[in-house]
Every structure is written in C-alpha cells, then in structure tokens.
C-alpha cells in the first residue's frame, strides 16, 4: 500500500526529492522508500527540511517533506508563499489539528494539483 504510494508519487507525479523528520506513524513510509526512484535526505529539524526541499524545487525538482502534524503549525510558510515555491508536505492524519489556511486533503492527486496550480505548500494526509 505504502510502496504503491511512493511509486505513484515518484513516477506519476514526478516527485523525486524528499526530506523530513521521522514521526510516530511514519515507520511504514520510511521502510517502503526505494532509492531507485527517489532521493531522501534526513534533516536536522523541520525548518531545515522545509527550506531544503524549497531549494531543490527552485532548482527544478519537485520535492516533498515528511513532517509531524503538530510541527507543521509552528513552521513559517511565508517564505514559500512569498516566493511561490510549491512544496508537498506529507503527514499522518492522527491527532491532526492543522492551522487554518493550509490546504490539506487525503487524496494525493488533489493535493498535487492544488500545489502545482497555486504554487503554495499543501498537506497530504496519510490515512
């Protein structure tokens, strides 16, 4: 199931660069990663992960960040919005209390379509 998700994300939507911080409930995601189709860089903290993914996006590679739901609220997304850098944020749906104004959906295609169209960060809720 999770392996299929990575395949869809990397091969259909062409997201190749990922970074982030492991969180509770993300172990399946990490164990299903495939270095043949994606590249993952472990980050020191959430802000570094977000900015690194933003930089890779500016270089022309679609990128995603794996973050804990509550940590997303503390992140400053203003930089991405100001400079129109779309980023896919992947998080677990558990205990989700995401702040208002941040697009989220449990359908991957909807989130990807939103962030590519509006050039803003969007959250994919992993069920």
């Amino acid at each position: 199931m999770v392996r299929k998700l990575w395949k869809e994300l990397c091969e259909c939507f062409e997201y190749r660069f990922f970074t982030g911080i492991p969180f509770e409930g993300s172990s399946d995601l990490y164990s299903a990663m495939d270095s043949e189709i994606m590249h993952y860089v472990p980050a020191a903290n959430e802000l570094i992960a977000l900015r690194m993914a933003s930089g890779a996006r500016v270089s022309g590679f679609k990128s995603g960040v794996l973050l804990e739901p509550l940590k997303i609220n503390r992140l400053d997304m203003g930089f991405n919005i100001e400079f129109e850098i779309p980023i896919l944020i992947i998080t677990s749906v558990k205990d989700i209390l995401l702040r208002k104004g941040l697009y989220r959906d449990s359908s991957l295609s909807k989130v990807v379509a939103y962030i590519e169209k509006n050039k803003k960060p969007g959250v994919f809720l992993l069920e």
Binding site: C10, E14, R16, F17, E36, I37, M38, H39, V41, A43, A44, N45, L47, I48, A49, L50, R51, M52, A53, S54, G55, A56, R57, V58, S59, G60, F61, S63, D76, F79, E82, F83, E84, I85
Partner: protein, 209 residues
C-alpha cells in the same frame, strides 16, 4: 579589512555560471554596489533557514552556490551549517564575514569571537575551511589568486574572512521579492556549471537512467 572590501573582492571572483546568495541587508547593499547580475539572490537575514535553502538549490544543480553571510547568522543557525557540512555537497561554498559583533546594532559583541577555534568548529561539521586572515596582506592581486584556486575547489567549503565593523553608506537595495530570475538561471542547462558530478544525481532518477 573592511567588510565591503571583502565583499567587493570575493564577489568579483565568482564566475558567471555560479549563483551567489547574499544574506543580510548590509551585505546585500554592498554586493549590489559591486556586482549586479541575474545570478545574484538578495535575502534578508530576518528570515531563517536560508543556508538550508541554498543547500537545497546546490543539491539540485551542478552550478556552484556561494552563500555570503555574517558570523551572527552562523551563531543563530548553527544546525543549518551542520546540515550543510555533513551533506558533502561539492558545489556548496559559504563565505563567513567574521566581525565579532552585531554590525547592525551598534557593534555589540558576539560570542563567536570568544570561540577557541572558529575554523575547528566548521571543520568538525564537515566543511573544508579556508581562512583568509592574512591572505589579503600577502597578495597584491587577490582576485586573480582566489579565482585561480576557487576554480579547483571541492565543497562543502567554508571561507572565514575576518573583517572590521566600519561601514560605508551604500544605496538601498530592493531585496528579492520574486525568484523568477534565479529559477530561470539555475534551471538553464545552456549555462554550463562546474565540471563535476553532483553528489545526488536526482536528474538521473528523474530521467530513469
């Protein structure tokens, strides 16, 4: 050495195929005065995570990324420098102007000056370190010399340049509000980058090679 002299010399050594990221209003003003180019990105140091942003760009391109910032930014964002150091990203260079004070707030002292070994910290983080403390006294044409050995460098490289706190009035520069020129520059395959294989070959993954 005054900081604006350091900015003038080092920005002139950057090639047209390199990308320069200037962090901090004062550094941006000085750099804008001496080198105006599409491949310059001016960012305010009020923002955090800019070293990681530059690192992300370096990961995705074969062009060299030069970041110019002050020691106060280093102190505030050390974890970012650690991330850059361990990345082993060969096209990433950070130039650190070491003034030992907050130049924007009446030169109030900064703890970085009290550190036993400034280059030791950066070296242990994974950077190769160049210390230019005496370089400018020994060379009459520093631009020529620096350009010569920067042509062969492998990153991640940290350049330490001790500067004093004297300022020069520079015209105000408009900090970047959009990144279109930078995006176009960095994605332009016609501008040949540095002659080495990027550490992470995302491009190969994208092409399915």
């Amino acid at each position: 050495m005054r900081r604006y002299t350091g900015v003038r010399v080092l920005t002139q050594t950057i090639l047209d195929c390199d990308l320069a990221v200037y962090i901090g209003k004062d550094i941006c003003k000085e750099a804008y005065q001496y080198r105006q180019h599409d491949n310059n990105l001016y960012l305010s140091d009020e923002e955090e995570g800019l070293i990681s942003f530059a690192l992300g760009m370096a990961i995705g391109t074969d062009k060299r990324i030069f970041v110019f910032c002050e020691d106060q930014y280093f102190i505030r964002n050390m974890s970012e420098f650690m991330q850059a150091g361990v990345s082993k990203c060969k096209n990433f260079v950070v130039v650190l102007f070491v003034s030992g004070g907050y130049t924007n707030v009446s030169n109030t002292p900064l703890i970085f000056d009290e550190v036993n070994s400034q280059h030791g910290i950066l070296y242990n983080m994974g950077f190769m370190v160049h210390n230019y403390s005496n370089f400018f006294k020994q060379h009459k044409n520093p631009i020529k010399h620096i350009r010569k050995f920067w042509a062969r460098i492998r990153g991640p490289l940290a350049v330490l340049l001790p500067v004093d706190n004297r300022k020069k009035d520079m015209p105000v520069v408009e900090l970047s509000k959009n990144m279109t020129a930078t995006k176009e520059f960095i994605r332009n395959k016609d501008i040949t980058g540095y002659s080495y294989v990027p550490p992470f070959s995302i491009e190969e993954l994208a092409l399915g090679v």
